[in-house]
Protein backbone atom coordinates (compact mmCIF):
# COMPACT_ATOMS: atom_id res chain seq x y z
CA UNK A 1 0.00 0.00 0.00
CA UNK A 2 2.82 2.40 0.88
CA UNK A 3 4.67 1.26 -2.21
CA UNK A 4 1.65 2.22 -4.33
CA UNK A 5 1.52 5.67 -2.74
CA UNK A 6 5.21 6.29 -3.39
CA UNK A 7 4.61 5.25 -6.98
CA UNK A 8 1.88 7.88 -7.22
CA UNK A 9 4.49 10.50 -6.34
CA UNK A 10 6.92 9.00 -8.80
CA UNK A 11 4.29 9.27 -11.55
CA UNK A 12 3.57 12.97 -10.92
CA UNK A 13 6.29 14.05 -13.30
CA UNK A 14 4.96 12.06 -16.26
CA UNK A 15 1.32 12.93 -15.59
CA UNK A 16 2.07 16.60 -15.33
CA UNK A 17 3.64 16.70 -18.75
CA UNK A 18 0.18 15.85 -20.12
CA UNK A 19 -1.67 18.22 -17.75
CA UNK A 20 0.63 21.11 -18.55
CA UNK A 21 0.29 20.46 -22.26
CA UNK A 22 -3.49 20.78 -21.88
CA UNK A 23 -3.06 23.85 -19.67
CA UNK A 24 -0.94 25.51 -22.35
CA UNK A 25 -3.45 24.62 -25.06
CA UNK A 26 -6.12 26.43 -23.02
CA UNK A 27 -3.89 29.48 -22.95
CA UNK A 28 -2.51 28.94 -19.44
CA UNK A 29 0.88 30.32 -18.47
CA UNK A 30 3.81 28.39 -17.00
CA UNK A 31 6.82 29.74 -15.12
CA UNK A 32 9.84 27.47 -14.72
CA UNK A 33 12.27 27.63 -11.80
CA UNK A 34 15.26 25.76 -10.36
CA UNK A 35 15.76 26.94 -6.84
CA UNK A 36 13.97 27.12 -3.49
CA UNK A 37 14.63 30.88 -3.29
CA UNK A 38 12.05 31.32 -6.04
CA UNK A 39 8.86 32.84 -4.55
CA UNK A 40 6.40 30.60 -6.33
CA UNK A 41 3.48 32.23 -4.49
CA UNK A 42 3.73 35.17 -6.91
CA UNK A 43 3.12 32.93 -9.92
CA UNK A 44 0.20 31.16 -8.26
CA UNK A 45 -1.34 34.52 -7.34
CA UNK A 46 -0.94 35.63 -10.95
CA UNK A 47 -2.94 32.61 -12.08
CA UNK A 48 0.05 30.85 -13.62
CA UNK A 49 1.61 27.48 -12.85
CA UNK A 50 5.09 27.38 -11.28
CA UNK A 51 7.00 24.26 -12.24
CA UNK A 52 10.37 22.90 -11.21
CA UNK A 53 12.73 22.31 -14.13
CA UNK A 54 15.04 19.37 -14.82
CA UNK A 55 18.66 19.52 -13.71
CA UNK A 56 19.46 16.43 -11.66
CA UNK A 57 20.54 13.97 -14.36
CA UNK A 58 23.80 13.21 -16.12
CA UNK A 59 22.44 12.68 -19.67
CA UNK A 60 22.49 16.23 -21.09
CA UNK A 61 25.79 17.24 -19.47
CA UNK A 62 27.97 16.47 -22.49
CA UNK A 63 25.79 18.75 -24.63
CA UNK A 64 26.13 21.50 -22.00
CA UNK A 65 29.91 21.13 -22.04
CA UNK A 66 29.93 22.33 -25.64
CA UNK A 67 29.13 25.74 -24.18
CA UNK A 68 29.99 25.64 -20.46
CA UNK A 69 33.34 24.71 -18.85
CA UNK A 70 33.70 21.06 -17.84
CA UNK A 71 34.91 22.04 -14.38
CA UNK A 72 31.55 23.45 -13.35
CA UNK A 73 28.95 22.04 -11.01
CA UNK A 74 26.88 19.23 -12.57
CA UNK A 75 23.62 20.86 -11.50
CA UNK A 76 24.31 23.94 -13.60
CA UNK A 77 25.54 21.88 -16.55
CA UNK A 78 22.57 19.52 -16.34
CA UNK A 79 20.06 22.41 -16.10
CA UNK A 80 21.54 24.14 -19.12
CA UNK A 81 21.97 20.83 -20.97
CA UNK A 82 18.30 19.91 -20.54
CA UNK A 83 17.31 23.35 -21.80
CA UNK A 84 19.59 23.46 -24.83
CA UNK A 85 18.78 19.92 -25.96
CA UNK A 86 15.05 20.51 -25.39
CA UNK A 87 14.82 17.30 -23.31
CA UNK A 88 12.97 18.90 -20.38
CA UNK A 89 9.27 19.18 -21.31
CA UNK A 90 8.71 21.65 -18.46
CA UNK A 91 11.35 23.98 -19.87
CA UNK A 92 9.62 23.71 -23.20
CA UNK A 93 6.24 24.66 -21.67
CA UNK A 94 7.66 27.61 -19.73
CA UNK A 95 6.72 31.12 -20.82
CA UNK A 96 9.33 32.52 -18.49
CA UNK A 97 12.26 31.09 -16.54
CA UNK A 98 13.12 32.65 -13.19
CA UNK A 99 16.60 32.27 -11.75
CA UNK A 100 18.47 33.77 -8.80
CA UNK A 101 22.07 34.88 -8.33
CA UNK A 102 22.71 32.13 -5.79
CA UNK A 103 26.18 31.44 -7.17
CA UNK A 104 28.54 32.72 -9.85
CA UNK A 105 28.09 29.64 -12.03
CA UNK A 106 24.32 29.92 -12.19
CA UNK A 107 24.38 33.68 -12.63
CA UNK A 108 26.57 33.43 -15.72
CA UNK A 109 24.79 30.33 -17.07
CA UNK A 110 21.47 32.23 -17.05
CA UNK A 111 23.01 34.71 -19.48
CA UNK A 112 23.35 31.89 -22.02
CA UNK A 113 19.99 30.39 -21.11
CA UNK A 114 18.33 33.70 -21.97
CA UNK A 115 19.29 33.01 -25.59
CA UNK A 116 16.83 30.10 -25.46
CA UNK A 117 13.88 31.53 -23.46
CA UNK A 118 12.91 34.71 -21.65
CA UNK A 119 14.84 34.54 -18.36
CA UNK A 120 14.32 36.77 -15.34
CA UNK A 121 17.14 36.70 -12.78
CA UNK A 122 16.52 37.89 -9.23
CA UNK A 123 19.48 39.45 -7.46
CA UNK A 124 19.73 37.47 -4.24
CA UNK A 125 21.72 39.26 -1.53
CA UNK A 126 24.29 37.05 0.19
CA UNK A 127 24.65 38.81 3.55
CA UNK A 128 21.16 38.45 4.79
CA UNK A 129 21.65 40.02 8.21
CA UNK A 130 22.08 43.54 6.86
CA UNK A 131 19.18 45.95 6.41
CA UNK A 132 20.26 46.87 2.89
CA UNK A 133 20.10 43.17 1.90
CA UNK A 134 16.54 42.93 3.07
CA UNK A 135 15.56 46.10 1.21
CA UNK A 136 17.19 44.82 -1.96
CA UNK A 137 15.37 41.52 -1.66
CA UNK A 138 12.03 43.24 -1.20
CA UNK A 139 12.75 45.33 -4.30
CA UNK A 140 13.70 42.22 -6.22
CA UNK A 141 10.39 40.64 -5.21
CA UNK A 142 8.54 43.69 -6.50
CA UNK A 143 10.57 43.66 -9.73
CA UNK A 144 9.62 40.00 -10.21
CA UNK A 145 5.99 40.86 -9.50
CA UNK A 146 6.05 43.50 -12.23
CA UNK A 147 7.67 41.10 -14.70
CA UNK A 148 5.12 38.38 -13.94
CA UNK A 149 2.24 40.81 -14.33
CA UNK A 150 3.61 41.77 -17.73
CA UNK A 151 4.35 38.23 -18.95
CA UNK A 152 1.27 36.55 -17.47
CA UNK A 153 -1.08 39.44 -18.16
CA UNK A 154 -2.95 41.03 -15.29
CA UNK A 155 -2.34 42.48 -11.91
CA UNK A 156 -1.36 40.31 -8.92
CA UNK A 157 -3.99 41.13 -6.31
CA UNK A 158 -3.03 41.23 -2.66
CA UNK A 159 -5.81 38.87 -1.59
CA UNK A 160 -4.76 36.38 -4.28
CA UNK A 161 -1.21 36.56 -2.97
CA UNK A 162 -2.32 35.87 0.61
CA UNK A 163 -4.31 32.91 -0.70
CA UNK A 164 -1.23 31.59 -2.53
CA UNK A 165 0.85 32.09 0.62
CA UNK A 166 -1.63 30.03 2.58
CA UNK A 167 -1.55 27.28 -0.05
CA UNK A 168 2.26 27.04 -0.07
CA UNK A 169 2.33 27.16 3.75
CA UNK A 170 -0.08 24.24 3.84
CA UNK A 171 1.98 22.24 1.33
CA UNK A 172 5.14 22.93 3.35
CA UNK A 173 3.45 21.75 6.55
CA UNK A 174 2.16 18.62 4.83
CA UNK A 175 5.63 17.79 3.47
CA UNK A 176 7.18 18.37 6.88
CA UNK A 177 4.56 16.09 8.41
CA UNK A 178 5.70 13.23 6.18
CA UNK A 179 9.42 13.89 6.69
CA UNK A 180 9.06 14.13 10.48
CA UNK A 181 7.74 10.57 10.69
CA UNK A 182 11.31 9.48 9.96
CA UNK A 183 12.29 10.69 13.42
CA UNK A 184 10.99 7.36 14.73
CA UNK A 185 12.97 4.14 14.89
CA UNK A 186 12.54 2.38 12.55
CA UNK A 187 12.05 5.30 10.17
CA UNK A 188 8.88 5.29 8.07
CA UNK A 189 10.48 5.79 4.68
CA UNK A 190 13.77 4.79 3.10
CA UNK A 191 15.94 7.62 1.85
CA UNK A 192 15.09 6.79 -1.73
CA UNK A 193 11.34 6.92 -1.06
CA UNK A 194 11.73 10.15 0.87
CA UNK A 195 13.66 11.64 -2.04
CA UNK A 196 11.04 10.47 -4.53
CA UNK A 197 8.27 12.16 -2.54
CA UNK A 198 10.08 15.46 -2.00
CA UNK A 199 11.58 15.79 -5.45
CA UNK A 200 8.45 14.78 -7.35
CA UNK A 201 6.09 17.20 -5.67
CA UNK A 202 7.88 20.14 -7.33
CA UNK A 203 6.53 18.97 -10.69
CA UNK A 204 2.87 18.93 -9.66
CA UNK A 205 0.80 21.79 -11.03
CA UNK A 206 -1.98 21.11 -8.53
CA UNK A 207 -0.85 21.88 -5.00
CA UNK A 208 -4.18 20.94 -3.40
CA UNK A 209 -3.66 17.49 -4.86
CA UNK A 210 -0.08 17.36 -3.56
CA UNK A 211 -1.30 18.28 -0.07
CA UNK A 212 -3.93 15.53 -0.19
CA UNK A 213 -1.35 12.99 -1.36
CA UNK A 214 1.08 13.99 1.39
CA UNK A 215 -1.63 13.79 4.06
CA UNK A 216 -2.75 10.37 2.81
CA UNK A 217 0.83 9.11 2.79
CA UNK A 218 1.30 10.37 6.32
CA UNK A 219 -1.87 8.63 7.49
CA UNK A 220 -0.73 5.37 5.90
CA UNK A 221 2.74 5.62 7.42
CA UNK A 222 1.46 6.14 10.94
CA UNK A 223 0.38 2.50 10.80
CA UNK A 224 3.99 1.43 10.17
CA UNK A 225 6.66 2.13 7.62
CA UNK A 226 8.71 0.15 5.16
CA UNK A 227 12.17 0.19 6.76
CA UNK A 228 13.60 -2.55 8.99
CA UNK A 229 14.69 -1.59 12.50
CA UNK A 230 18.29 -1.39 13.67
CA UNK A 231 19.95 0.07 10.58
CA UNK A 232 22.55 2.83 10.98
CA UNK A 233 20.66 6.12 10.58
CA UNK A 234 22.35 8.53 8.18
CA UNK A 235 21.54 12.21 7.66
CA UNK A 236 22.56 13.75 4.33
CA UNK A 237 23.43 17.44 4.00
CA UNK A 238 25.04 19.58 1.31
CA UNK A 239 24.07 20.13 -2.32
CA UNK A 240 20.62 19.33 -3.73
CA UNK A 241 19.84 15.77 -4.86
CA UNK A 242 17.13 14.66 -7.26
CA UNK A 243 16.22 11.47 -9.03
CA UNK A 244 19.08 10.77 -11.42
CA UNK A 245 21.68 11.96 -8.94
CA UNK A 246 20.69 9.81 -5.98
CA UNK A 247 23.80 7.61 -6.10
CA UNK A 248 25.00 8.43 -2.59
CA UNK A 249 21.57 7.57 -1.16
CA UNK A 250 21.59 4.26 -3.04
CA UNK A 251 25.12 3.45 -1.86
CA UNK A 252 24.21 4.12 1.79
CA UNK A 253 21.13 1.93 1.59
CA UNK A 254 22.91 -0.87 -0.32
CA UNK A 255 25.61 -0.88 2.35
CA UNK A 256 22.99 -1.54 5.04
CA UNK A 257 22.31 1.97 6.29
CA UNK A 258 19.17 4.05 5.93
CA UNK A 259 18.95 7.74 5.05
CA UNK A 260 16.54 9.21 7.59
CA UNK A 261 16.60 12.83 6.44
CA UNK A 262 18.03 15.30 3.95
CA UNK A 263 19.04 18.68 5.30
CA UNK A 264 19.60 19.97 1.74
CA UNK A 265 17.27 22.25 -0.22
CA UNK A 266 15.56 19.35 -2.00
CA UNK A 267 14.80 17.99 1.47
CA UNK A 268 14.16 19.58 4.84
CA UNK A 269 16.01 22.91 4.55
CA UNK A 270 12.94 24.97 3.66
CA UNK A 271 10.32 22.93 5.51
CA UNK A 272 10.54 24.67 8.89
CA UNK A 273 10.03 28.03 7.10
CA UNK A 274 6.49 29.36 6.90
CA UNK A 275 5.46 32.74 5.60
CA UNK A 276 4.31 34.82 8.55
CA UNK A 277 0.85 36.06 7.66
CA UNK A 278 0.79 38.76 10.33
CA UNK A 279 2.64 41.25 8.11
CA UNK A 280 0.58 43.94 6.35
CA UNK A 281 2.39 43.56 3.05
CA UNK A 282 2.52 40.04 1.55
CA UNK A 283 5.71 40.88 -0.39
CA UNK A 284 7.47 41.81 2.85
CA UNK A 285 6.19 38.60 4.44
CA UNK A 286 7.56 36.56 1.54
CA UNK A 287 10.89 38.38 1.56
CA UNK A 288 11.32 37.51 5.24
CA UNK A 289 10.65 33.83 4.63
CA UNK A 290 12.82 33.34 1.58
CA UNK A 291 15.79 35.21 2.98
CA UNK A 292 15.85 32.78 5.92
CA UNK A 293 16.75 29.77 3.73
CA UNK A 294 20.10 28.59 5.12
CA UNK A 295 21.92 28.01 1.83
CA UNK A 296 25.73 28.05 1.73
CA UNK A 297 25.57 31.04 -0.64
CA UNK A 298 24.79 33.12 2.47
CA UNK A 299 27.60 34.51 4.58
CA UNK A 300 27.64 33.85 7.42
CA UNK A 301 25.30 30.88 7.29
CA UNK A 302 24.67 30.02 10.92
CA UNK A 303 21.13 28.92 10.15
CA UNK A 304 22.44 25.77 8.50
CA UNK A 305 24.51 24.85 11.55
CA UNK A 306 21.52 25.34 13.84
CA UNK A 307 19.24 23.34 11.57
CA UNK A 308 21.79 20.53 11.30
CA UNK A 309 22.28 20.37 15.04
CA UNK A 310 18.53 20.18 15.59
CA UNK A 311 18.08 17.56 12.87
CA UNK A 312 20.90 15.30 14.11
CA UNK A 313 19.15 15.25 17.45
CA UNK A 314 15.51 15.07 16.23
CA UNK A 315 16.21 12.35 13.66
CA UNK A 316 18.63 10.45 15.94
CA UNK A 317 21.29 10.42 13.24
CA UNK A 318 24.18 8.00 13.82
CA UNK A 319 26.28 9.62 11.10
CA UNK A 320 26.20 12.58 8.70
CA UNK A 321 27.29 12.69 5.06
CA UNK A 322 27.97 16.08 3.49
CA UNK A 323 27.67 15.76 -0.27
CA UNK A 324 29.24 18.50 -2.37
CA UNK A 325 28.84 18.54 -6.13
CA UNK A 326 32.08 19.22 -7.94
CA UNK A 327 32.93 22.94 -8.17
CA UNK A 328 30.24 24.08 -5.72
CA UNK A 329 32.63 26.33 -3.83
CA UNK A 330 30.28 27.54 -1.12
CA UNK A 331 29.19 24.09 0.06
CA UNK A 332 32.71 22.73 -0.40
CA UNK A 333 34.27 25.42 1.77
CA UNK A 334 31.49 25.34 4.34
CA UNK A 335 32.06 21.61 4.81
CA UNK A 336 35.02 22.32 7.08
CA UNK A 337 32.76 24.16 9.54
CA UNK A 338 30.12 21.44 9.36
CA UNK A 339 32.78 18.78 9.98
CA UNK A 340 34.14 20.61 12.98
CA UNK A 341 30.75 21.13 14.57
CA UNK A 342 29.73 17.49 14.13
CA UNK A 343 33.07 15.92 15.06
CA UNK A 344 33.22 18.04 18.20
CA UNK A 345 29.81 16.62 19.06
CA UNK A 346 31.11 13.09 18.45
CA UNK A 347 28.99 12.45 15.35
CA UNK A 348 30.79 10.37 12.66
CA UNK A 349 31.03 12.55 9.57
CA UNK A 350 32.01 12.07 5.95
CA UNK A 351 32.49 14.71 3.28
CA UNK A 352 32.08 13.51 -0.29
CA UNK A 353 32.80 15.48 -3.44
CA UNK A 354 31.33 14.04 -6.59
CA UNK A 355 29.36 14.71 -9.76
CA UNK A 356 26.37 13.02 -11.43
CA UNK A 357 28.48 10.36 -13.21
CA UNK A 358 28.85 6.75 -12.09
CA UNK A 359 32.64 6.77 -12.48
CA UNK A 360 33.37 7.01 -8.75
CA UNK A 361 30.82 4.53 -7.36
CA UNK A 362 33.53 2.18 -6.03
CA UNK A 363 35.48 5.01 -4.42
CA UNK A 364 32.36 6.47 -2.82
CA UNK A 365 31.22 2.99 -1.77
CA UNK A 366 34.33 2.24 0.29
CA UNK A 367 34.08 5.54 2.16
CA UNK A 368 30.40 5.09 2.88
CA UNK A 369 30.91 1.49 4.01
CA UNK A 370 33.75 2.60 6.29
CA UNK A 371 31.50 5.29 7.78
CA UNK A 372 28.84 2.68 8.53
CA UNK A 373 31.49 0.41 10.10
CA UNK A 374 32.38 3.29 12.44
CA UNK A 375 28.77 3.39 13.60
CA UNK A 376 28.41 -0.37 14.14
CA UNK A 377 28.55 -1.38 17.75
Amino acid sequence: MIKAQIEKFFNIRGENVIRLKEWKEQGGKVVGYYCTYFPQELVIAAGGVPVCLCGTREEPISAAEEVLPRNLCPLIKSSYGFAVTDKCPFFNFSDLIVGETTCDGKKKMFEYMSELKPVHVMQLPHMKESESSFELWVQEMRRLQARLEKELGGEILEEELWRAIDLVNRETAAAKGVCDLNQQEPPSLSGLDLLTVNWSRGFNNNKEETIRMLDELREALIGGGSVAAGKPRVLITGCPIGLGSEKVVTLVEEAGGTVVAFENCTGYKTLPLMTDTSYDDPIVALAHKYLQIPCSCMSPNEGRMKLLQAMVSDFNADAVIDLTWQACHTYNIESRAVAKMLKDAGVPFLHLESDYSTSDLARLGVRIQALLEMVEK
Binding site: V366, A370, E373
Partner: protein, 252 residues
Amino acid sequence: MIALGLDIGSVAAKGVLLDGERLFTCLSPTGWDPRSAGEALVAALLAEAGKCREEARVIVTGYGRVSFQGADRVVTEISCHAKGVAKLLPGTDTIVDIGGQDSKVIRISQSGKVIDFAMNDKCAAGTGRFLQVTAAALGLAVDELDNAEDRALEVEISSMCAVFAESEIIGLLASGVSKGGIIAGLHRSIGKRVATMARSLGVGGQIAFTGGVALNRGIQRALSEELGQPVQITEYCQFVGALGAAMLARTC
Protein backbone atom coordinates in the same frame (compact mmCIF):
# COMPACT_ATOMS: atom_id res chain seq x y z
CA MET B 1 39.01 -22.41 13.98
CA ILE B 2 41.68 -20.56 11.98
CA ALA B 3 41.32 -17.00 10.74
CA LEU B 4 42.17 -15.84 7.25
CA GLY B 5 42.40 -12.21 6.19
CA LEU B 6 42.74 -11.20 2.56
CA ASP B 7 43.57 -7.71 1.33
CA ILE B 8 43.14 -7.69 -2.42
CA GLY B 9 44.62 -4.39 -3.54
CA SER B 10 44.89 -2.86 -7.00
CA VAL B 11 48.54 -3.89 -7.35
CA ALA B 12 49.21 -6.63 -4.77
CA ALA B 13 47.03 -9.22 -3.04
CA LYS B 14 48.05 -9.92 0.55
CA GLY B 15 46.94 -12.74 2.83
CA VAL B 16 47.43 -13.48 6.53
CA LEU B 17 46.48 -16.74 8.23
CA LEU B 18 46.27 -16.89 12.02
CA ASP B 19 46.28 -20.29 13.69
CA GLY B 20 46.68 -19.88 17.44
CA GLU B 21 50.09 -18.33 17.87
CA ARG B 22 51.17 -19.22 14.36
CA LEU B 23 51.10 -16.50 11.66
CA PHE B 24 51.53 -17.07 7.92
CA THR B 25 51.74 -14.38 5.25
CA CYS B 26 51.57 -14.50 1.48
CA LEU B 27 51.77 -11.80 -1.20
CA SER B 28 51.28 -11.92 -4.95
CA PRO B 29 50.53 -9.48 -7.76
CA THR B 30 46.77 -8.98 -8.16
CA GLY B 31 46.95 -8.90 -11.95
CA TRP B 32 43.77 -8.39 -13.93
CA ASP B 33 41.62 -10.86 -12.01
CA PRO B 34 41.24 -9.99 -8.31
CA ARG B 35 39.03 -13.02 -7.67
CA SER B 36 41.60 -15.62 -8.80
CA ALA B 37 44.35 -13.69 -7.03
CA GLY B 38 42.39 -14.05 -3.79
CA GLU B 39 41.68 -17.73 -4.35
CA ALA B 40 45.36 -18.43 -5.07
CA LEU B 41 46.31 -16.75 -1.78
CA VAL B 42 43.80 -18.83 0.17
CA ALA B 43 45.14 -22.06 -1.37
CA ALA B 44 48.78 -21.11 -0.71
CA LEU B 45 48.17 -20.10 2.91
CA LEU B 46 46.10 -23.19 3.72
CA ALA B 47 48.75 -25.46 2.16
CA GLU B 48 51.51 -23.79 4.17
CA ALA B 49 49.59 -24.08 7.42
CA GLY B 50 48.43 -27.61 6.62
CA LYS B 51 44.78 -26.71 7.10
CA CYS B 52 41.68 -27.11 5.00
CA ARG B 53 39.19 -24.48 3.81
CA GLU B 54 36.35 -25.65 6.08
CA GLU B 55 38.36 -24.79 9.18
CA ALA B 56 38.88 -21.16 8.17
CA ARG B 57 36.81 -18.05 8.72
CA VAL B 58 37.61 -15.61 5.94
CA ILE B 59 37.33 -11.82 5.89
CA VAL B 60 38.25 -10.04 2.72
CA THR B 61 39.13 -6.36 2.24
CA GLY B 62 40.71 -4.15 -0.43
CA TYR B 63 39.27 -3.07 -3.74
CA GLY B 64 38.92 -6.74 -4.81
CA ARG B 65 36.70 -7.48 -1.80
CA VAL B 66 33.50 -7.31 -3.80
CA SER B 67 34.56 -9.79 -6.47
CA PHE B 68 35.86 -12.47 -4.08
CA GLN B 69 33.30 -15.22 -3.50
CA GLY B 70 32.81 -17.16 -0.30
CA ALA B 71 34.02 -14.70 2.31
CA ASP B 72 32.34 -14.83 5.71
CA ARG B 73 32.38 -11.05 5.77
CA VAL B 74 33.54 -8.12 3.71
CA VAL B 75 35.10 -5.21 5.60
CA THR B 76 36.65 -2.01 4.26
CA GLU B 77 40.41 -1.58 4.29
CA ILE B 78 39.90 1.44 6.57
CA SER B 79 38.57 -0.65 9.47
CA CYS B 80 41.09 -3.45 8.77
CA HIS B 81 44.07 -1.09 8.78
CA ALA B 82 42.94 0.38 12.08
CA LYS B 83 42.75 -3.09 13.63
CA GLY B 84 46.07 -4.25 12.17
CA VAL B 85 48.05 -1.17 13.19
CA ALA B 86 46.67 -1.23 16.74
CA LYS B 87 48.22 -4.71 17.02
CA LEU B 88 51.52 -4.13 15.19
CA LEU B 89 52.32 -0.60 16.36
CA PRO B 90 50.50 -0.08 19.67
CA GLY B 91 50.10 3.54 20.69
CA THR B 92 49.44 4.71 17.14
CA ASP B 93 47.06 7.64 16.80
CA THR B 94 47.23 8.25 13.03
CA ILE B 95 47.80 5.88 10.13
CA VAL B 96 49.08 7.06 6.78
CA ASP B 97 48.54 4.31 4.23
CA ILE B 98 49.72 4.61 0.64
CA GLY B 99 48.64 1.82 -1.62
CA GLY B 100 48.51 1.23 -5.35
CA GLN B 101 45.57 3.40 -6.23
CA ASP B 102 44.75 5.37 -3.15
CA SER B 103 46.21 6.98 -0.09
CA LYS B 104 44.41 7.38 3.18
CA VAL B 105 44.80 8.85 6.62
CA ILE B 106 43.00 7.18 9.52
CA ARG B 107 42.71 8.39 13.12
CA ILE B 108 42.26 5.43 15.46
CA SER B 109 41.59 4.67 19.11
CA GLN B 110 43.97 2.52 21.16
CA SER B 111 41.73 -0.49 20.64
CA GLY B 112 41.88 -0.05 16.87
CA LYS B 113 38.54 1.61 16.28
CA VAL B 114 38.28 4.15 13.46
CA ILE B 115 37.65 7.67 14.76
CA ASP B 116 37.96 9.56 11.47
CA PHE B 117 39.48 9.07 8.04
CA ALA B 118 40.21 10.79 4.74
CA MET B 119 41.12 9.39 1.35
CA ASN B 120 42.61 10.91 -1.77
CA ASP B 121 39.95 12.15 -4.14
CA LYS B 122 39.50 11.52 -7.77
CA CYS B 123 43.06 11.19 -9.03
CA ALA B 124 46.27 9.24 -8.53
CA ALA B 125 48.23 12.08 -6.91
CA GLY B 126 50.07 10.77 -3.85
CA THR B 127 49.58 7.07 -4.58
CA GLY B 128 51.68 4.13 -5.69
CA ARG B 129 50.29 4.60 -9.16
CA PHE B 130 51.87 8.07 -9.31
CA LEU B 131 55.23 6.47 -8.43
CA GLN B 132 54.75 3.73 -11.00
CA VAL B 133 54.05 6.15 -13.85
CA THR B 134 56.89 8.49 -12.95
CA ALA B 135 59.37 5.63 -12.34
CA ALA B 136 58.56 4.34 -15.82
CA ALA B 137 59.42 7.74 -17.29
CA LEU B 138 62.83 7.36 -15.65
CA GLY B 139 63.32 3.81 -16.92
CA LEU B 140 63.22 2.38 -13.38
CA ALA B 141 61.11 -0.11 -11.45
CA VAL B 142 59.28 1.26 -8.41
CA ASP B 143 61.49 -0.68 -5.96
CA GLU B 144 64.65 0.83 -7.50
CA LEU B 145 63.58 4.40 -6.72
CA ASP B 146 64.79 4.81 -3.14
CA ASN B 147 68.36 3.65 -3.86
CA ALA B 148 68.56 5.97 -6.85
CA GLU B 149 67.49 9.21 -5.13
CA ASP B 150 69.99 12.03 -4.66
CA ARG B 151 68.72 14.41 -2.00
CA ALA B 152 71.51 16.93 -2.56
CA LEU B 153 70.22 17.59 -6.08
CA GLU B 154 66.49 17.56 -5.25
CA VAL B 155 64.32 19.50 -7.72
CA GLU B 156 60.71 20.52 -7.32
CA ILE B 157 58.11 18.42 -9.12
CA SER B 158 55.02 20.61 -9.13
CA SER B 159 52.53 18.51 -11.11
CA MET B 160 50.10 16.62 -8.92
CA CYS B 161 48.59 14.76 -11.87
CA ALA B 162 50.51 11.55 -12.66
CA VAL B 163 50.22 12.13 -16.39
CA PHE B 164 51.39 15.76 -16.21
CA ALA B 165 54.20 14.76 -13.80
CA GLU B 166 55.43 12.31 -16.39
CA SER B 167 55.73 15.05 -19.02
CA GLU B 168 57.29 17.38 -16.44
CA ILE B 169 59.95 14.72 -15.77
CA ILE B 170 60.64 14.26 -19.47
CA GLY B 171 61.15 18.03 -19.71
CA LEU B 172 63.50 18.05 -16.70
CA LEU B 173 65.55 15.17 -18.09
CA ALA B 174 65.80 16.99 -21.43
CA SER B 175 67.17 20.06 -19.67
CA GLY B 176 69.88 17.96 -18.02
CA VAL B 177 68.54 17.59 -14.45
CA SER B 178 69.89 14.42 -12.75
CA LYS B 179 67.69 11.38 -12.30
CA GLY B 180 68.56 11.20 -8.61
CA GLY B 181 67.44 14.79 -8.09
CA ILE B 182 64.16 14.17 -9.90
CA ILE B 183 63.50 11.08 -7.76
CA ALA B 184 64.14 13.06 -4.57
CA GLY B 185 61.64 15.62 -5.89
CA LEU B 186 59.06 12.90 -6.54
CA HIS B 187 59.41 11.55 -3.02
CA ARG B 188 59.03 15.07 -1.65
CA SER B 189 55.93 15.69 -3.76
CA ILE B 190 54.19 12.56 -2.44
CA GLY B 191 55.26 13.34 1.13
CA LYS B 192 53.84 16.85 0.86
CA ARG B 193 50.60 15.77 -0.70
CA VAL B 194 49.87 13.10 1.89
CA ALA B 195 51.06 15.23 4.82
CA THR B 196 48.57 17.94 3.79
CA MET B 197 45.78 15.37 3.83
CA ALA B 198 46.93 14.15 7.27
CA ARG B 199 47.06 17.66 8.70
CA SER B 200 43.62 18.52 7.33
CA LEU B 201 42.31 15.61 9.40
CA GLY B 202 44.35 16.69 12.43
CA VAL B 203 47.41 14.62 13.31
CA GLY B 204 47.67 13.64 16.95
CA GLY B 205 50.41 11.51 18.51
CA GLN B 206 52.27 8.58 16.98
CA ILE B 207 52.00 8.20 13.21
CA ALA B 208 52.27 4.82 11.47
CA PHE B 209 53.12 4.59 7.75
CA THR B 210 51.75 1.51 5.97
CA GLY B 211 51.08 0.12 2.50
CA GLY B 212 53.45 -0.94 -0.25
CA VAL B 213 54.79 2.59 -0.70
CA ALA B 214 55.98 2.57 2.94
CA LEU B 215 58.83 0.28 1.81
CA ASN B 216 60.38 3.27 0.03
CA ARG B 217 62.87 4.90 2.45
CA GLY B 218 62.94 8.11 0.45
CA ILE B 219 59.22 8.61 0.98
CA GLN B 220 59.51 7.56 4.63
CA ARG B 221 62.03 10.34 5.08
CA ALA B 222 60.11 12.95 3.07
CA LEU B 223 56.86 12.17 4.90
CA SER B 224 58.57 12.37 8.32
CA GLU B 225 60.04 15.75 7.41
CA GLU B 226 56.76 17.11 6.09
CA LEU B 227 54.88 15.92 9.17
CA GLY B 228 57.61 17.17 11.52
CA GLN B 229 57.94 13.84 13.33
CA PRO B 230 59.28 10.38 12.45
CA VAL B 231 56.73 7.96 11.03
CA GLN B 232 56.67 4.42 12.44
CA ILE B 233 57.19 1.54 10.03
CA THR B 234 56.53 -2.16 10.61
CA GLU B 235 58.20 -4.94 8.64
CA TYR B 236 54.64 -6.09 7.90
CA CYS B 237 53.71 -2.73 6.38
CA GLN B 238 52.12 -4.39 3.35
CA PHE B 239 50.18 -6.88 5.48
CA VAL B 240 48.48 -4.50 7.90
CA GLY B 241 45.10 -4.67 6.16
CA ALA B 242 45.21 -8.45 5.78
CA LEU B 243 46.24 -8.89 9.41
CA GLY B 244 43.41 -6.61 10.55
CA ALA B 245 40.98 -8.68 8.46
CA ALA B 246 42.30 -11.91 10.01
CA MET B 247 41.94 -10.44 13.51
CA LEU B 248 38.36 -9.44 12.75
CA ALA B 249 37.73 -12.94 11.38
CA ARG B 250 38.78 -14.34 14.75
CA THR B 251 36.13 -12.38 16.57
CA CYS B 252 33.26 -12.29 14.10
